[in-house]
Symmetry: C2
Amino acid sequence: MFKIGDFSKLSRVSVKMLRHYDQLGLLKPAYVDPFSEYRYYSADQLPRLNRILALKDLGLTLEQIARVLDENISGEQLRGMLTLKRAEIEQQVRAELNRLARIETRLRQIEGEGTLPAHDIVLRTVPAQLVAGLRQSIEADSAVAPLFDELETYVARHKARAARAPLLLCHESEHRARLDLEVVVPLTNAIPASARVTVYELPGIEAACIVFTGPYDVRMAEAAAALFRWADAHAYQAAGPTREVFLRFGADDLGFPLPAAYLTHEPAAYVTELQLPLRRAPARQA
Amino acid sequence: MFKIGDFSKLSRVSVKMLRHYDQLGLLKPAYVDPFSEYRYYSADQLPRLNRILALKDLGLTLEQIARVLDENISGEQLRGMLTLKRAEIEQQVRAELNRLARIETRLRQIEGEGTLPAHDIVLRTVPAQLVAGLRQSIEADSAVAPLFDELETYVARHKARAARAPLLLCHESEHRARLDLEVVVPLTNAIPASARVTVYELPGIEAACIVFTGPYDVRMAEAAAALFRWADAHAYQAAGPTREVFLRFGADDLGFPLPAAYLTHEPAAYVTELQLPLRRAPARQA
DNA sequence: CTTGACTCTCCCCTTGTGGGAAGGTGTATG
DNA sequence: CATACACCTTCCCACAAGGGGAGAGTCAAG
């Protein structure tokens, strides 16, 4: 019988781990002195320890290994466990490769600009929400505010304004001279539509997002362009109209229940989130 | 100003994480009520939070992110961090791909045999050690015991026997009719060589190992064959003679300082580790 | 018998996040 | 204005797979 230190040298497994495996019931010592509590291992416990190491090497958790070893799992079940584990690892490898691509993008940005870019693109899931929308083709950005006024007034009359940020959908129109825009506000419950206002559930999306601080000037267009470049570089396609979410904006208080935190009179303090809905682009080459 | 719950909804970051980031100094609330200790966030903290999420997405730890954000790191340093992180992730991806290959091997074994194979192959590093060796070309396994007797006696006379397991090196000889074997015992310190005994440092290796319980019969040859198949399947080459380490074996007590745990009189209780030194095989195809 | 090398248990640390308890606040409604 | 209820606070525990160390007990050799 080996004391734990000798068995540790024999097996190249640390004393800490041997004690840990004992505690988990993975590998009980062949004998424990009842007075000194010393653990004594026998050489023929090495195959079991090796099996533990081999299974650990495949990525199984110690708990799973205990099940495999002690509940003499059938070959079928074991195959299922390994197949599942393989799927998990494949998933993880894909995630790591994506991460590598993002790091590459960042590195190129730093090469080009000498530092971090002004905007950070974040991939996130945006939940679906019930909204009222008012869509119109307009000529200039300045025509947006009256649309919001009209929509907010309509929604306020039905007392259905949810205390979340309003947004703007930039529909793609073929004739680019005019902008095909839809102003949207979230609702607490369904209300009747009107000739101009539609009520529907805005779908949840996966989106690349940029949060943008400051007035609606050329830098916002740059941010939007950066979103499209990013999507392209990471093999995504747009999956719906771009969304501009007005997290803090300038408006007279119309009496709707938005906390004051949403409002400011300082254009430099405006906060807008650009969301580009995404879907995986078809692979370009194998 | 938003209370933490509202800011959490706005940013889709859990309240728990916001508090955690506050505690780490990553994102302090814009204002903390001195009486209620309530945290209040401003919408224009969203860009910083987004930067945090973006950097986290690249795999940086929260501590690294704090350094990037607060010690306004130069582009050069940032590039270094990302390059390092990229190397780490590439390393990890390689490890995961290896793991996938091992899982595939296991799955095929289970398909073929219906259950886990009798032996578990473990990859480990074996440290270098000072040894005495006695090499001879012999005809049958039964001739090994006298060689060990001779070597142990020689080493015991110099009082240099280390309390580690003896081993056998199976040198590859061209004429396979005879076996070119070398018996080896570990030393505590250098001793003079003799006409038959050499003293040298047995090199450390990376090896695929199988621990094998029982007498030295045909199953051991199968285990050795399994090692070679495994090495081939994982694109490794042998890098030196196969080693058989006698972790528990039958021998009369010759007076050398091996703990009794190394010895048994029961062949079924023998424990032997087969080690196949490895080196990466050249890739077969791109 | 002493000494030094081992070993024991117990506790804290890692990372990023979730869960929950006990107790204090803010606010909308009756 | 009282009260209910949603929300907030801090503090503690948990995860996986161990590492590090303290304080106390044990083993073996000289």
